[in-house]
Symmetry: C3
Subunit: 210 residues, 3 copies
């Protein structure tokens, strides 16, 4: 059951990576790589930080296959997938919830403290998308004004709250993943954004000339 949910999360994250790759005019290989980087990047980064090498998703052919399939689907049927992009956002929110919760639980099981575990959970949830954006030369979307990482943080906090109250386990994880999912969907629907500081300064003061 958890495996199937994880594979669905892998697939929809792969879709989002492949769609950006097509929009950036990358070739077939670029589409597959960006799909795999988005789908597997968060979990691999978490495993490296925890010293769990080789990372679990690299040793399991199903994750690689599912990510590659997502890339192929987008490459062949970009217009149809783009047409369903609202549906993709729903699945993406579900993937965010799932990856955040499995990441936080994995970190807790590896003996990390509560705060580092929540951080690694967020990194698992949002890391793949950040890697996607860096490779495609975008400022990571997760850093820009949407309730995305905050929804991930909510799920991670519920998992560590449950863990510190010794009520670890599947029910708490389902609640946490659902909270992330609902918070993300509502913020999309109501167009909520995080505040942005306005510098009101010479914008080139410290940035390199470009």
């Amino acid at each position: 059951m958890l495996l199937i949910l994880n594979l669905i999360g892998t697939f929809v994250f792969g879709l989002s990576g492949a769609m950006l790759a097509v929009r950036k005019r990358l070739d077939l290989f670029g589409v597959l790589v960006l799909a795999a980087a988005t789908a597997l990047g968060g979990g691999i980064t978490r495993d490296i930080l925890l010293g769990r090498t080789p990372p679990a998703t690299l040793g399991d052919w199903r994750y690689l296959t599912v990510a590659a399939c997502a890339g192929l689907v987008v490459f062949v049927e970009y217009r149809r997938v783009a047409h369903w992009s609202n549906l993709v956002q729903v699945f993406d929110a579900a993937g965010l919830g799932l990856f955040t919760v499995t990441g936080t639980s994995t970190a807790l099981n590896a003996g990390l403290g509560l705060m580092p575990a929540a951080l690694l959970g967020m990194l698992t949830g949002v890391g793949g998308g950040a890697l996607r954006d860096v490779l495609a030369r975008e400022v990571p979307l997760v850093l820009r004004g949407e309730i995305y990482a905050l929804a991930s943080l909510l799920g991670a906090l519920i998992v560590i709250a449950a863990a510190s109250a010794s009520v670890l386990g599947t029910p708490a994880e389902i609640i946490a993943a659902s909270a992330t999912f609902v918070f993300r969907m509502v913020s999309l629907w109501r167009d909520w954004n995080l505040p942005i500081a306005r510098p009101h300064e010479h914008p080139s003061a410290l940035s390199p000339p470009s």
Copy 2:
């Protein structure tokens, strides 16, 4: 013998990193860093993913020295090296073949399955160049329309085919590296490219405003 081939691969990968750095007007240190990142990045990433820390090339002064020399040569003699850029492409194709094969074999020896081992082999071959492009703020060349990663994949597949037929060893590795080299050179000569999907869509739908 393998060491000498690996050092040649390190040197030519270093040349390609340093040449991009000079073109980007980076300073002397930037040229050296981009040379080292290109030359050693793929192998270091592979070693981290396999849990082989500290990475082999960091502990061996010869790799660092060779990469730094490549950077210095380009910094001092940029015009002459650029004049020989066709020759650099030949060596680069040879380096791609070598690094792919040693990466795949290292991953197989570390107990990885066939598909993950092929993936790590490709990552060893193309990872340094991708790191070079991210640091220089380019969309990685390997994701854009040339037969580069596909040539690497061919070599990795030959190594894992040989391994699954229990004919591991130097002869199979030489054939695999040569196949990557020839495929890459022919694709350059005949100007072969991978297909690119045309989105025909509102290009700003999901990309962040810029």
Copy 3:
């Protein structure tokens, strides 16, 4: 004492990350992430390369808290911090010296050779800033024309010179960190720069079309 110096270094590196984030119009979360990536990125990369997982700064809540505080301070009081930017540069030079020296010593204690240890020390000092710039889609400042990495290298070389003369210990480390600090401050004051190679070539020869 060392802990306090390290936390000061973490704070000022966090300030520099957060200031770039505000200038790039990232949201509150983006400011916090860029502060943490700048402050902790160098040390985490070093720990991954040394196989010390999970990285020390992830397991210690004080580093995360200090980095987050730096982000919050900049988010709320950007103008005031920007006003003191000369002071921030002084602290940043101090952080560079501290992180370089602790990174080099950590690598030596982990059994690395002299040259790899110096490299890891530099990576600890300048890696956070490079990660900051990649995430914010800038060519890393450390690669562009200022005496920054060279000051870090000076400190690392002093540490390994002391180590190879068997005079390891706090006095040598203080001298090394001070040398980095002074070299960096003098180069800022006198406007020293590293040389840049002028290609005088077709600038688009090898770079991808953009």
